[in-house]
Amino acid sequence: DTAVSQTPKYLVTQMGNDKSIKCEQNLGHDTMYWYKQDSKKFLKIMFSYNNKELIINETVPNRFSPKSPDKAHLNLHINSLELGDSAVYFCASSLQGKSTDTQYFGPGTRLTVL
């Protein structure tokens, strides 16, 4: 039983395309996140949603748009993909989004933009 799942696991696409990554959690958590891990393994938060409402929106280009149809899902849509978007994107969730809560991570989606 996968707690936090992401699809697809790998995504290879051309510059300028639009793509989406899906994330689902079956933990009953209220808060979900997207993180980006660059080629040097550095992880940085992108977005946080609590009960379908945006809480954190770090300085990411507005080509990135998170969408949360319900609290168990947080999808990431990326428009006009650029070479620099190549990275591993991790979805995570936590119980209530408190600073003491453990965040549970998905397996990651490796995006390669050619």
Partner: protein
């Protein structure tokens, strides 16, 4: 804003050696501290966390970490490493629920059999 510094980017040890990975953070207020591990090809998993109480916390797989407030440090330790501990280790802080996790740049640990 908070930041996290991990001093060792690459560490190579032999099996049964003792391990200590450094982590320092910068933030003037109360922080919650985490160590996550990422085994090759896998997702991040929580090793341990600290938010209050005993500053020496024990985690899974024999890992422990000590929070030293005066040094702004949260170093990870294991007395005897195994080959299966080869992984990327991330220290992280969460200073406020609206901030999410701030990660260090990670330490790539290689254990030689």
């Amino acid at each position: 804003a908070q930041s996290v510094s991990q001093h060792n980017h690459h560490v190579i040890l032999s099996e049964a050696a003792s391990l200590e990975l450094g982590c320092n953070y910068s933030y003037g207020g109360t922080v919650n501290l985490f160590w996550y591990v990422q085994y090759p090809g896998q997702h991040l998993q929580l090793l341990l966390k600290y938010f209050s109480g005993d500053p020496l916390v024990k985690g899974i797989k024999g890992f422990e970490a000590e929070f030293i407030k005066s040094k702004f440090s949260f170093n990870l330790r294991k007395p005897s490493v195994q080959w299966s501990d080869t992984a990327e280790y991330f220290c992280a802080v969460n200073a406020g629920s609206a901030d999410g996790l701030t990660f260090g740049k990670g330490t790539h640990l290689i254990i030689q059999p």
